[in-house]
Every structure is written in C-alpha cells, then in structure tokens.
Symmetry: C2
Subunit: 255 residues, 2 copies
Amino acid sequence: MSEQDAGSYTPSEYRTPDGAPSDIVVFTITATEKLSAKKSLPVRKLEVLLIQRKKWPFEGKWALPGGFTRESETVQACARRELLEETGVSDVHLEYFNVYSDRGRDPRGWMISHAFFALVQETYVANRRTSDEASDVRLLPVEEALAMELAFDHRTILQDALDRIRLKMLTTTIAKEFLPERFTISELYQVIRTVVPAFEERNFIRKITSTQSRKGILEEVRDRSGQPMMSNRYSQRPAQLYRFTDYVPELSIYG
Amino acid sequence: MSEQDAGSYTPSEYRTPDGAPSDIVVFTITATEKLSAKKSLPVRKLEVLLIQRKKWPFEGKWALPGGFTRESETVQACARRELLEETGVSDVHLEYFNVYSDRGRDPRGWMISHAFFALVQETYVANRRTSDEASDVRLLPVEEALAMELAFDHRTILQDALDRIRLKMLTTTIAKEFLPERFTISELYQVIRTVVPAFEERNFIRKITSTQSRKGILEEVRDRSGQPMMSNRYSQRPAQLYRFTDYVPELSIYG
DNA sequence: TCAATAGTGTCTGTGAGACAGTATGCG
DNA sequence: CGCATACTGTCTCACAGACACTATTGA
C-alpha cells in the first residue's frame, strides 16, 4: 500500500537509503571553423562535460557531475544547484529522465541516483572551473566518453541520456537549446545532424518552410520595417534568419 | 561533483532520506455492453486503481498503491513487487515516469517517491483484493479520481501519469496493452479515443490500413489456410482482425 | 572566375481528407 | 426491412522526394 507500511515507521525499524544523489549529463555542441580561409559551415561536435574524481571511490576516474540531495530541496533543485556550482550557469534546459538504483552501483552504500540532462550553449561552459572535489573538468566528445570506463554506472546513464535527447531532438523543438535565438536553416540542420547523424533530409529547407505541413514551428525574422533579416556568417550569399515560435507540434503514429 | 561530497561520508554527517517509496498508477479500460439488445460497440472507460488508507497519515483517504523500496531491490523491482502483491498480476506493462520529492509531501519524513504507471487488461484486475493495509480497493473513473482529494501528492502524480499515457498512446503502440492479441480496427480506435478523447480521425481505417504510410504497425490476421480471420463480436458484418507487428514507428517533426 | 552556401523550378507519385455509397447479417 | 457496424469508390488538393537549375558575394 502506498507508503503506509510505514504507518508505524521508525528509523531503526527499516533500512533507509544512504543518499539520493543527482547526476547531470551536460551536453553541448562545439563549433570549430574549418581550416579553409573561405566562409563555410563549422564542424560541429556533440560533447559532454565530465569531471575527474579526486577521492574514493573511483578516484582518478571520469564521472558525471552531480551531488547529494539535501533534505530541504527537491531532486530537481539539487540538480539545478549542482549545475550552477559546477558550470556557473543557470536558466538552461534541465530535464529529469531516469532513476538508477541497482544494488552495488555505489560502494559507499545504498544510493538511489536521479539522472538529468542539460543542454547548454558552448559559450556557457567555456568558463568552467575545477572545484575542490575534481582534479579536472573537461568537455569530451560523446563517442569518446562512451568508449571510456567511467565511474559508477555513469556510462549507462550517459548512453540513456544520449538516446533520450536523440528522440527529443526529432520530436520536440529542443534543438533551440543549442541555437541562438535567430539562426539559419543550415544551422538548424547541422545541429540536428550532430545529435542524430542518421537524420538525413535532402529537401530539408523545402519541408521546414512549406508553411502548410510543418506549419508554425519556425517563422522568418524581419526587422522593424518588415524587411527579412539575413545572415552571411557562414556563406557568401546571405541566408534568411528564422526563430522558433512557441507552437508545440503534436505527433501521432495514427494520423 | 558526482556523489563525491560523500568521499568522507558517514551516516551521522549528512541527513539521509527516510524512505524511497514507489507509487503505481494502474490504468485499465473497462468495457460495458450497451443496453440495446443488438450487437454494438461497448462503452469503454479509463479507470484507475485506488486503495483506501487504513492508517495514519491520510487514513480514510484514497491513494495510489505502492510501498517502500528495500535495500536489496531496485525501485523498478519494488514497483513490480508491489503491483504483484496488490493486484496479483505480473507480466504487465510497467513503466517509470517521474520522481516526486517536494518537501513535506509525506508527514512521516523525507520521502522521495518514484512513480510508475501500469497498463492492465480489465480481466487482470477483476480479482483484486483488499490487503491488511487498505480498507478498500477500487477501480474509479480517472476523471472522478482527479476530482477527489487524494492522499499525499497523488492527485498530481495521477495527472502526470495521465498526461504521459496520452502522449504515448499517440506516439507508440502501447494501445496493445489494452487490447487482446487480435482485435478489430474499431476496437483499436475506441481504445485510443478512451484515453485521448480529443483524438478524432474520420478515415481511421483508411489511414491505418493504407499499407504505405503507416506501414507495418498492424498486420491482418490470417488462419493456417491463408483466409483472413474475422470477428462479429461487435457487429453483424464480420470485421477483419489485426495484430500489432513488432515494428517500432519513428516520428519526427522535421520530416 | 571560382568556391561555397542558399535557395527555386518542375515533375511525379502518393496519400490525406471528405463524403457518399455499398456490404453483411441479425432481429 | 431496418439497424449498426464494416468497409470501398471516387474525387481533390497538398506535398514529399528527386534533381537540376539559378542566385549571391567574397576571395
């Protein structure tokens, strides 16, 4: 029955968890200019923020940032706080996605861990710092991180988080978390492909701008006089700038 | 840093949670025949299994079934166990969807609750029983349950679970959990509409059976000799029976 | 002029959506 | 024959998908 076995609950009667940590998978997309002198689209890479542990257990190993929930806060607040302490940023997309409670996942005791993912702009994590608890903090390409032997069950957590953001990248508008407020269609396409390499749409511009079908996800940016705003950051020919509307698309396999 | 504040962790140093319960939102769809003598589609209703609490806190109030996680099990195992103890069934769709940790959500102490939803056939919960902990166990229409004052934050949990299964009903094939292995298109349509009343597709049969577009979600059932299998349970004219394939549809807002 | 990106023109096949019409079989 | 459900015929309009073509502008 719901939480009622503890009607006569006393701390000595039942074993209780030794802690409820939050772990945060911080994703970012780095963009590095191509060597060629001419204007061209940058090479984008999906990276994850990892810290190198200083103490037992798993000292020296790379791990996800995170920390223990305090009695006064929710697990979401804990994740938000740890993210701020860790990366110095707030107001980013932070989302809970799973719980990890396998016996023995933490040698220190019975720990039930709550896993979040965060999507942040590259500039936000540029000024990261090591803390007392970590000997190093680093952005690593996701594929590289998955090939490493991470602390705890953090490899599993990272893989689950990756699966989740791949799904959400295609079914929601979270791509916006990796983009400036105004962006070109090429930028959007590159962000999607960076997270989901399998995604390939030759007529991407056509579909996204064919006002009827994917209606309302994006809108053209115009200046005060109604002129379309363009960008030539990545190309000689200026490209139309777009922004996401607050339209929430609804998907269905049945119609 | 990840779980490393407790590098020098001792139980007395930090406050730890007083328990990690699991709560389970058990959904079922009941079907009652219409009064009219003729064959016709049954009236379906989405219902949720609630228990009436016997003890403090919230004694007398209705609540979701659930219970405390033991050190030896994962929270998923806990939910599965509680579901078995509560409803006597196993092998049903059981899925984790959120964590609830608001301060003060449980007057007994610091409880971090893990919420699951289960989708079960009506026949599975028919032989439910009250346990020591509950004075009554009942199936209630979801809308009715949401209008009640439930124990703890269970109204919120129920609402979240409902939102989640509405989303999954349209984007995955979980409708199968409410259907027999072989079913007619009308039954499928009714199940979807019972969970998501806003869903309305006039040409539902056309779309679902137009082999190209929603390709592979369903397949016609045929007997050994290759004859299509029909059912006249709900109609004079026999209707083709279908089953779900194991095809997993992929959705995207971009193409 | 070339390179690199940003588009547009045009054609074809598929299918979504609407709605009227036909099919089945029991009471 | 009426009723309730189960389809099918047929039309229109949209658009997905392919691919060749033009546009823009700095180096």
